[in-house]
């Protein structure tokens, strides 16, 4: 009879955490920033169809780094949770805090259950408020903890370095073009201190725009509109207003 070998709980958890972290680190990082009119999501994503950012509900969006099939599963679970809750009670009763709690419980249970492989994902759940003070951003690492963030967040492989960079430069009340420029600068930094160019067609950008007249505030930014915003980056607010006007006109073909 073979003796089952003993692994201390500390060691088992450390191994699982390392496994999850390594999986997450294989993917590209993404950043989430507050700007004057909402929250912007920026990431490097060569795919046009497999999104890292998605709408969950009216004012709530989801961003994820790590293993696609795992976070996609969580995303759909979140959409079902939000839609069912809104249908049962009211649209106002669906909140990012509630959703983040459900995700945290789900990730936490999976992480500590010996029967399941830990999820190799790191999530951000964000809700845009009526004012910048009302914005909520929650970061959810693989182990089910919740971190309430303000200003800027980075998740994924190179997250620590990127968020350090963002923390030093992010300011309240930035314009969308400024925030986008800062996000791209941060994502372009290599772990070894170098820098590389990320072409516009490899960027996935989405916003929760509180000025949007529709009930649903989530909007993707791509194509000409993205190119204009990237050009406008910096303090040229006039060009940004123009891009905004175009955004409204292009709203129809968002999805």
């Amino acid at each position: 009879m073979s003796t089952p070998f003993y692994v201390s709980p500390q060691q088992a958890m450390a191994d699982r955490a390392e496994y999850a972290r390594k999986g997450i680190a294989r993917g590209r990082s993404l950043v989430v920033l507050q700007y004057a009119d909402g929250i912007v999501f920026v990431g490097e994503n060569p795919s046009r169809a497999l999104h890292k950012f998605s709408e969950i509900y009216d004012r709530i969006a989801f961003a994820a780094a790590g293993k696609y099939n795992e976070y996609e599963n969580l995303r759909i679970g979140g959409v079902r949770y939000a839609d069912l809750r809104g249908y049962t009670y009211d649209r106002d009763d669906v909140t990012a805090r509630g959703l983040a709690n459900v995700y945290a419980q789900t990730l936490g249970t999976i992480f500590s259950s010996a029967a399941e492989k830990p999820y190799e994902v790191e999530l951000v759940v964000a809700e845009v408020g009526e004012t910048p003070e009302g914005d909520q951003i929650y970061r959810l690492p693989h182990d089910g903890s919740i971190v309430d963030e303000h200003g800027s967040v980075a998740v994924g492989g190179n997250a620590e370095q990127i968020s350090g960079y963002l923390d030093r430069r992010h300011q309240d009340g930035m314009s969308l073009a400024e925030a986008l420029k800062l996000a791209v600068e941060a994502l372009s930094r290599e772990p070894n201190g170098g820098e590389r160019e990320i072409p516009a067609e490899r960027l996935e950008v989405a916003v929760l725009d509180r000025t949007r007249p529709q009930q649903r505030k989530f909007r993707r930014i791509a194509g000409r509109q993205l190119a204009r915003l990237l050009e406008a980056g910096g303090a040229e607010t006039a060009t940004e207003a123009e891009a905004e006007a175009e955004a409204e006109a292009e709203d129809g073909d968002d999805e």
Binding site: I76, L84, Y87, E255
Partner: protein, 281 residues
């Protein structure tokens, strides 16, 4: 299972199980009692009295479609509500107007809106207009049991078909039977009168503004002859709900806009009570 959506516990397995992109399918597996069609109705004698919505009209014009409804809900010979809304956006490119039992119809619209939104979020793409119209058909069919007990819901669905680049109208019967209408359509108790007006005034080359006037004329004629349909209520400033769907998406006319149309029609009717005349030949 229901407790799981209320507490902040872990997502139940059903939420994380890969499945269809339909919210109704998800509900019918996870919480079937939440679906209106799954509700059991005890046997009742006679007809159940509940507020009824009455007249909905729609007309297409080059580049879009308009959908409008009066504001009256009746219960027998009593006016149950004077400012009910019976026309709702279904999503960015479509709208639904409801005649029949108001309570059930409003619930059905809410579920229909959610069904379209859910699909869009899960799939990252919109359903085709045909797909949306079929989905509504399924929902009406699931209400057949109640319809046979007098609680019928008869919607009118209109939308802008992005692929064909034109406005389209679908009408339904209580069994969920669906038919596409060409040019114009009306449903509800005042619809026979409204349809007469539409038939005489409609032409395929209307402008958007003419189309919105047309549907209000038709609602006026319906209210003129059907006691369950409400005309423009000038004293209370309650005017018909008029919506326009074009390439730009769904738009509901503001109170000012619809009151202006209604008032100009009223003014003309003071001189000519039966409304605009068509040439005999």
């Amino acid at each position: 299972m229901e407790a799981n959506t209320r507490s902040t516990g872990r997502l139940p397995a059903a939420f994380l199980t890969p499945g269809s992109s339909s919210f109704m399918d998800f509900l019918s597996e996870h919480q079937p009692e939440m679906l209106p069609g799954k509700r059991q109705l005890p046997p009742v004698q006679g007809v159940i009295e509940a507020p009824h919505g009455t007249t909905i009209v729609a007309a297409t014009f080059p580049g879009g479609v308009v959908l409008a409804g009066d504001r009256r809900a009746t219960m027998g010979n009593v006016i149950a509500q004077r400012d009910i809304e019976k026309v709702f956006p279904a999503d960015e490119y479509s709208a639904v107007g409801i005649a029949g039992t108001a309570g059930l119809a409003v619930e059905m619209v809410k579920l229909f809106q959610l069904e379209l939104e859910h699909f869009e979020k899960v799939e990252g793409a919109q359903l085709s207009l045909e797909g949306k119209a079929n989905r509504l058909s399924t929902m009406i069919r699931s209400n057949l049991g109640m319809a046979l007990q007098g609680l019928a819901v008869v919607p009118l669905f209109a939308g802008y078909d992005v692929d064909r680049e034109k406005g389209r109208i679908f009408s339904y019967d209580v069994t969920g039977g669906r038919s596409e209408e060409h040019g114009f359509a009306a449903t509800g108790s005042g619809s026979i009168f409204a349809r007469g007006a539409l038939k005489k005034l409609y032409s395929p080359d209307l402008t958007e503004q003419q189309a919105t006037t047309l549907v209000v004329q038709a609602l006026y004629d319906a209210a003129d002859d059907d006691s369950a349909t409400g005309g423009p209520d000038v004293a209370r400033r309650i005017y018909p709900i008029v919506t326009v769907i074009t390439e730009e998406g769904f738009r509901k006319l503001t109170d000012e806009e619809s009151s202006e149309i209604a008032r100009s029609i009223l003014e003309r009717r003071l001189e000519q009570p039966d409304g605009p005349r068509a040439a005999l030949l």
